[in-house]
């Protein structure tokens, strides 16, 4: 119980007045009164700072972002930013403090100011209080207990997702162990659709990533064929182009479209150029299925990608107007990754995992088909080794799913990180258990264009076999029709090309 003096109330109004209240998206008088009370209580809380006594010491944390940063399990990016806990003890003390914090605090005490950042404004303005209600009296620690309890079913979890802010998801993930992150994510279920259905229970999809360092169409075609013959490509056939040239990007889009149409593959294409290039192509009548963009959790970081929310709205509308989906209308494909805000020097002193969760706040505004955390791509400055990459991948998957997003993961590492194939196998195994919607598929794990290692066609087959996971149902039917998979969902292709592909032009001398 907080008792406020009259002087406190007066000081509060002097500091914030009506201006502050106007910034909150108020829909009803009742809601306004609730928000007003929260804002006030939180202001009092802030003045008292965040503290806890543990082990005979009183630990104090000056503000919410510091508390969040210090409660984060160790990673090199937070060390680089100078925001991490200084000792192991301080980290756990911060976690204990965070566990006592009411979830409501996140609705009022924003970690990046509302006036300065459109992502904060999006998060606050779109928060759904009625969805939040079932957990609104909980602390962060209670919330973890609830998530793990029998009360949190697939249905109840998905019905609160619009009431959970990215910061709430990030906070609770910081006090969860790996097994917690897996178990709760497994209960979440996010299903999306374009030309097939992705995210159904017992399925795991793959993005076929046929990159080539010079965008050579024959080289790309060879990798696409190889991928299809290993059962890959139901999430998307998505090329990272070497060139952002609109004509070159358009040629690749035409080629993907021709392959998908000719073989009637229930999947979608994407060329992951800058969003403005894809928009330009779409406006010229090029067949654009999904619109891709890398996004981050702060306005300034998004600016470094050359985007803002307005541009994303515009591009989503453009993709929707093409009306190319047959099973559903999720037209956006986003990629994210811890450390992107810091690397653009746009993190506002916020830890990288919280920034990442805020990127999911951006993503869910646009009902994407796919959200892919490219977890180990950024390098050892942000996630130093296999252990840090693995935990980050599981946090991202959990936070995204809790927020209602169709999460996939680019389970990957670079050659300057302290990680190897064994680390990726562990993370793949964990994510397959957690119910990841999709992973990458690339020939032999080696991306010859982006120079990093991600999961291979074979890796997906391992996960399918070990966990009985099947592709998206429409795509699986196609694989069986084309003699690529058998009735049990196992790979059937042997040395010879299956009949529909036995006479392809690429195999003859060009």
């Amino acid at each position: 119980m907080i008792l406020a003096s009259i002087a406190d109330v007066a000081a509060y109004h002097r500091e914030f007045g009506l201006h502050h209240l106007r910034q909150i998206n108020v829909k009803s008088k009742k809601e306004r009164s609730v928000k007003q009370t929260h804002t006030f209580i939180n202001w009092i809380n802030q003045r008292m700072s965040y503290s806890i006594s543990a082990g005979g010491v009183t630990w104090q944390f000056p503000d919410l972002k510091t508390l969040m940063a210090k409660a984060t399990p160790l990673r090199s990016g937070d060390q680089l930013a100078g925001v991490c806990a200084e000792t192991a003890q301080e980290r756990v003390a911060a976690q204990m403090t965070l566990a006592e914090l009411p979830l409501k605090a996140f609705l009022n005490d924003v970690i990046i100011p509302y006036e300065d950042d459109e992502v904060t404004r999006l998060i606050i303005d779109t928060h759904c209080f009625s969805s939040f209600k079932p957990v609104s009296t909980y602390t962060v620690g209670d919330f973890r207990n609830w998530l793990l309890s029998e009360q949190a079913t697939t249905h109840s979890l998905m019905s609160i997702s619009k009431g959970i802010t990215p910061e709430m998801a990030a906070a609770v993930s910081k006090i969860m162990r790996v097994q917690d992150l897996i178990l709760v994510a497994q209960k979440c279920q996010v299903v999306t659709a374009f030309r097939n259905t992705i995210g159904l229970p017992g399925t795991m999809s793959t993005r076929l990533q046929p990159n080539h360092p010079t965008d050579d169409p024959t080289g790309i075609a060879a990798s696409i064929l190889d991928g299809l013959l290993y059962g890959s490509g139901d999430a998307v056939i998505g090329i990272n182009p070497a060139s952002d040239n609109t004509e070159a990007v358009s040629n690749l889009l035409f080629m993907l479209n021709d392959i998908i149409e000719h073989y009637e593959i229930p999947t979608q294409s994407c060329v992951l150029a800058h969003i403005t290039t894809q928009l330009e192509a779409a406006n010229k009548g090029v067949p654009v299925d999904l619109i891709f963009q890398s996004i981050a959790g702060t306005q300034a970081a998004n600016k470094s990608f050359g985007i803002d929310l307005g541009l994303l709205y515009e591009c989503k509308d453009a993709a929707l107007s093409l009306n190319r989906g047959t099973c559903g209308n999720n037209v956006m494909y986003f990629e994210t990754g811890q450390g992107s805000a810091l690397s653009a020097n746009a993190h506002h002193g916020v830890d990288q995992q919280t920034c990442e969760a805020r990127a999911y706040g951006v993503a869910r505004e646009f009902d994407p088909l796919l959200v892919n955390t490219v977890v180990g791509f950024i390098g050892p400055e942000y996630l130093y080794n296999g252990k840090q990459i693995s935990r980050a991948g599981l946090e991202d998957h959990f936070c995204g799913k809790l927020l209602g997003l169709p999460m996939g993961c680019d389970i990957c590492y670079t050659n300057h990180a302290d990680a190897d194939q064994d680390d990726m196998d562990s993370l793949l195994t964990q994510l397959a258990t957690a119910g990841v919607n999709f992973i990458m598929g690339i020939p032999g794990s080696d991306d010859i264009m982006l120079n990093y290692q991600t999961t291979s066609f074979h890796d997906a087959l391992y996960a399918r076999q070990a966990f009985g996971l099947r592709p998206s149902p429409e795509f699986e039917k196609w694989l069986q029709k084309m003699d690529i998979f058998n009735e049990q969902g196992r790979i059937k292709v042997a040395s010879e090309l299956p009949p529909p592909f036995s006479d392809i032009t690429l195999l003859k001398d060009l």
Partner: protein, 273 residues
Amino acid sequence: MSAKHLEIKNKWAELSRFTDARIALGRVGGSLPTSQLLSFQFDHANAQDAVHIPLDCEQLISDLDTKQPKVLLKSKAENRAQYLQRPDYGRKLSTESLEKLSQFYNKERYDIAFAIADGLSSIAVQRHAPNMMSTMLSHFERKNTRIAPISIILQGRVAVGDDIARALNAKCIVLLIGERPGLSSPDSLGIYFTFDPKPDFNDANRNCISNIRDGGLSYSEAAAKVVYLTTESLKIGKSGVDLKDNMAPVIENDAAAALENKFLFPIGKTDRK
């Protein structure tokens, strides 16, 4: 009894002539055959080693056939371990290097400054920077461009070029850098172009040309792109996402172009629907 029958090989392995990607690896069950597994591990070991081999500056300077003076500089990162963990250090010149460079400050603005940074692969710089530089310089020298001295930076990252352009007083910077080594390409060179760098610039203000190596982008293709970018940026007064690479694509594979990308279609069926 022979164990050969355990491994399924893929007949489409001949498609490897179109790409360095690891296609048609075959399988045992759904998994990688032993030989493929170990060949991957060997390449990974090579790529990890490539990150740590230091740049041989003396060799590079003697290989660089340029009229312009060459200036050897260091970033704030003192060694490789620090470089890997502190990207902020790699983006800034050391105080001594800034002083050294300021001797070359020119009141009359240089049109262009070139810089070469080791980045994450000294092998890439050692192998490709000399030829890449002479290909670019022959273009610019023909146009009577005022070219600044060539900077060579140890433990450097992309943004270190901003310091250099400002210290020299150059309109724009073209920075060559060793890209993160890939399994099949431990020697890939990248070029970053930034027009009139300001202290608050980030990656959205730059244009990147990637994968310059054997089997990747050729020196002449890359040089043509640099020339295009410098010319276009002068027109609009900026570089980065606003400077679209609308240069006509170089189509080298005429046969492929004639097929309109119908490689995966059965022979004879190449009509666009």
